[in-house]
């Protein structure tokens, strides 16, 4: 390469409200982009899961089958499957096209807070208020989890999966990183109940928000803190109620916020930020 890489521009933040979608499914508990960011999933407290087009704001499909409010959802890399978890202690694997329940997995002892596919959508990982993470096989018909990770001493609030790692944030104030390749578990103590965790885009850091209203960027390998974010960079006038969930576009600078029954799409010039946050 003869030319050096151009200096990266300052991140453009999604400041502009592009669209407001009234989901009509009571309170929206979580809003999620799909893998490519063209669609979004809304988890309603009326037990339904809805699939929307981001660009047009139209409802594409409604998935009903949960017994209680849906708390989290995720889409597979190929958009063929969805998984969702609910207060009814179940995790459901959906077929996107037909809207049918492919598998309904019971096993958690409490409501399931978060669910994620792994990269190839072969495993669903669900974290529950019962303090366990359960790894469900999507390939086999086995109804039992492959493995139960019960190291957490309190409920799992958040969970992220990377290629070979699993990051969990727990109410016991610890961020746990399970490294499958190394066969190791790294536990970082943060003191305050963790509300949300995620990897940085380069996969070198973990970002975690906790109830002491700070967001911490930790070095993944050593556990050292690289940054602590308590100050504001951007403030969006979403509304007066609680922002239940937000989701950042996988590639573009686009943000979804859910408040009450509505989802708002915020956009700006394309630029990436630090992944996904949740409050």
């Amino acid at each position: 390469m003869a030319f050096p890489q151009p200096r990266p521009q300052a991140p453009q933040l999604p400041r502009h409200l592009l669209r407001t979608i009234d989901c009509k499914q009571a309170a929206v508990r979580a809003v999620r982009f799909n893998a490519d960011g063209n669609y979004l999933l809304t988890c309603g407290s009326d037990k339904s899961l809805k699939l929307w087009s981001v660009s047009r704001g139209t409802l594409l499909k409604t998935y009903t089958g949960h017994g209680y409010e849906v708390l989290d959802a995720d889409g597979s890399y190929d958009n063929s499957q969805l998984c969702s978890c609910s207060s009814d202690k179940t995790v459901i694997l959906w077929d996107v096209a037909s809207g049918q329940v492919t598998r309904k997995l019971r096993g958690h002892a409490g409501k399931v807070n978060c669910v994620q596919f792994n990269e190839e959508a072969t495993v669903m990982l669900s974290g529950s208020i019962d303090g366990t993470v359960r790894c469900w096989d999507t390939r086999s018909r086995r109804m039992e989890p492959i493995q139960i990770l019960d190291e957490a001493r309190d409920g799992i609030s958040s969970l992220k999966v990377s290629e070979h790692e699993l990051l969990t944030g727990s109410v016991d104030g610890r961020v746990r990183r399970y490294d499958l390749r190394m066969g190791q578990l790294h536990v970082d103590f943060l003191g305050s109940p963790i509300t949300c965790v995620c990897f940085s885009r380069d996969g070198q850091c973990s970002l975690s928000s906790s109830l002491d209203s700070t967001v911490r960027l930790l070095d993944k390998s050593t556990g050292e803190m690289l940054g602590e974010y308590g100050s504001l960079t951007l403030k969006l006038p979403v509304g007066k109620a609680v922002v239940q969930s937000l989701s950042f576009h996988p590639t573009e600078s686009r943000l979804l916020t859910s408040m009450e029954g509505c989802v708002q799409v915020w956009g700006a010039e394309p630029e990436d930020a630090d992944g996904e946050k949740e409050q």
């Binding site: 792994n118 990269e119 190839e120 072969t122 495993v123 790894c135 096989d137 390939r139 492959i146 493995q147 139960i148 990770l149 019960d150 190291e151 001493r153 290629e163 070979h164 610890r174 399970y178 490294d179 499958l180 390749r181 190394m182 066969g183 190791q184 578990l185 790294h186 536990v187 970082d188 103590f189 943060l190 003191g191 911490r216 930790l218 070095d219 050593t222 556990g223 050292e224 803190m225 602590e228």
Partner: protein, 874 residues
Amino acid sequence: MASNEDNDEDFVTYGIPLEPLEEDEPVRKPVPVHEQTVKDEKGRYMRFHGAFTGGFSAGYFNTVGSKEGWTPTAFVSSRQQKAERQNARPEDFMDEEDFGEHGIAPKDIVTTDKFASERRDQIKDKARVVSSLAAIIPGDSGLLEELIAPAHSSIGVELLRKMGWKDGQGVGPRLKRKPRKQNADAGRVYGCALPPNASEESEEEEDEFAPENVTFAPKDVVPVDFTPKEDLHGLGYRGLNPLQALSGGSGPGHINLFTLDSDRATDLFGGRASGQQQSRGGIAGQAFGVGAMEDEDSDIYHKDSMSNYDTVYPPPDLPRNYRPVHFFRPVIDPTSVSPIVAQALQASRGQLSQDEPQQGRHKLDSTQRRDMLGETPLQDRERLSEIRRAAEDRKKPAVNLSSAEDRAAVVASAKVAALQALSNRFQTTAPAASSEAQMALKAWSGPTADASKIFKPFSKNPQKQARYDLYISKLKQGDKDALDSSLDTAMTEWERGRERDEFVRAALLYKPSNSSLSSRFTRGKHEEDTDSVEVARDQENDVDDKQSAVKMKMFGKLTRDTFEWHPDKLLCKRFNVPDPYPGSQVSQDATSSSKALPQSTSEASHKKSRWDVSEQASEEKGSLSVLQQNEAAFTTHADSAPTAPEGTVAQFDGKQKTGKKEKEDDEDDDEDDEDEEEEEVRPPMDLFKAIFASSSEEKSSSSSEDEEEEVVPPVPEATQNPAGCMMPVKPLISAHISRFPDVSKVMDVKHPPMQSIPSTENTMPSTHNAPAPSTGLGEEEFGPRLPPPGFVTSSYSPQLKKQKKREKDKHKKHKKEKKKKKSKKHKHKGKQKKRDEQSSSSSSEETDSNAEDESEDISARELLQRVKNLRNIK
């Protein structure tokens, strides 16, 4: 026979005439009883039962339905008619014939309320009186209902009113009043029959001036009161009413026992009665003898009167301050008195005849009773305790108590003991009570108990309340004898026992709410502290340290813990990641509970768990490996020998062990297969819990074992001979052994509590005393596979751990888990097959360790015998 025919015509015949008998007809046999059948209206046979079993049969010969039994009707859903259906009445389930004249519920025409006369229903009245006695508000027998009852008049009255009748008038065609006739006309009449209109005329006294053309309504006639006679008295006899007799309310001395029933009834109508009584015309005259009701000739029909009785008693001695005011409470039997009277009485008194709540004897305690009676308090108890104290004092010089406080303590304890003994004698439910007392103690002794908000359950009895308060205050201080010490010693045992129960119950009932809440929730902090079962305590240690580190924002080493984690094989497969621990069995167990094994915590963790040993051992191993591989078991003996104190006990110990081992080895040959399996078996999780849950205990016990075990090394000299002669030497054993001594050394230095583990190994080489061949081969096969990428330090750890565990298990197992181990052996038999190609070193090692293991199982007596044998051999 015309006259005859005439007669016939005159007669009226009833019924069906019998058929005329024909002379030549044979006399018919009477139908026997068993053929006399009765059929009901529908032609079904009815069988008679005994009178006590219900009369008639039901159904088919006392069964259901028909000859064939009960035939179910086709099911017809009544869902649609649900709304229309009213409540089922008993009549819906009864047969028609039941309503007949002789049925069980004959239906006859009854005047309904509307058409009934206003005569009171006596049964209802009685019921009301009875219910009033049991009512919540005594005396409130629907008195209110009576007051606000709707004006109800029967249809007859209403009809009469419509026809122009007015209250107080008689019924009938209007009459013309004739002017009153003179007395002459009414002339004296003798005989039974009164002139037809006599009665009428006698009543028309007042209507003197009646115009000719005015008609009058007939006079109302007092209805004859047909009161049924319910008592067994003679006609007209009323019996002596004690109320009347004693209160002296009615009349001066004379009580008329012979009032007519009608009189009795008309009493209620007030004044009229007296008038009637006086004008009791009737027939009175000598010619007819003495009438029953005549005053004259009272000898014949004696009228009882209280004056006839000679009841003169001496007046009672009146106390000085006697106030002659006494309210006599009439006792009324509601059934015998007319309900009106009863109700009136109720209204005035509030209640009829109900026991007043009186203070029972048992509701007072002895002190209260004593106070009431004005007795002096008992001195016995004090005297008793005085005596006891004196005895104590006498004993005191012998015991030579140093201080007065000690003495007091002794006295107090003796007292308490005595009281306890006494109370136990009286308390049958002592254990239950004591457990309750414990609960109460627990509830109150908490720091959260709020003193200001104590409920006062015995506020009526201030002394008792004071005692209770004392008890509570003692409870709060956590005093275990709170109950006994706060009770009044002057009370009787029984009372004290009762009070004890009451207090405990009250304390439990009124315990502070926050303590009752706190008993429901465990505090998070506590949870953390008590969560010692898991390895977690070792792993994520020192939350406080971390907390402070977080506060100082010193993330990194201080806040990070790293553990070994065994992902499931399938999970690795699904993630397209090679299994980091390909040979390990842990992940198998991990499916059920994937406890991350604390892995060689990096130097980051400042406080090391006991698992850290493995890493250090492996590090050490690097430097010592050459030595370790080359040296025989002897070196280890040499190493460990100096540290061990020598003694006869040690000798004995060693002999024991070797003796055992020889025996075992003989038996082992056929068990080899089984023993092999022991090798790779990772003990279940609960075993670890058992080991690590009570770490302090474990430490102490292990250290004690250390002493025992470390004594062993000098043994070889003693046991060399038997080992040499009796055992087939297994040279490869040393291969296994040789690997461990260095570990033991390392651990001996760094982790005193862990000493016991390797030192047990030391005993084994001592027994065999075999030259060590090159262990390279054994090492290679036995060691773990290549470490996962980037995972250098822990290369040896799993193996070591396993070994360690096994060693630890020996101590544990022979204590509690013999059975478990046995079963496990069998379980893993299959798995172990593939490892058959494993070097014999491991197997022999297995047998070895196993030998030692099982040797522990042998009873002490056997061991002794063996030792004796050995000595004999020597």
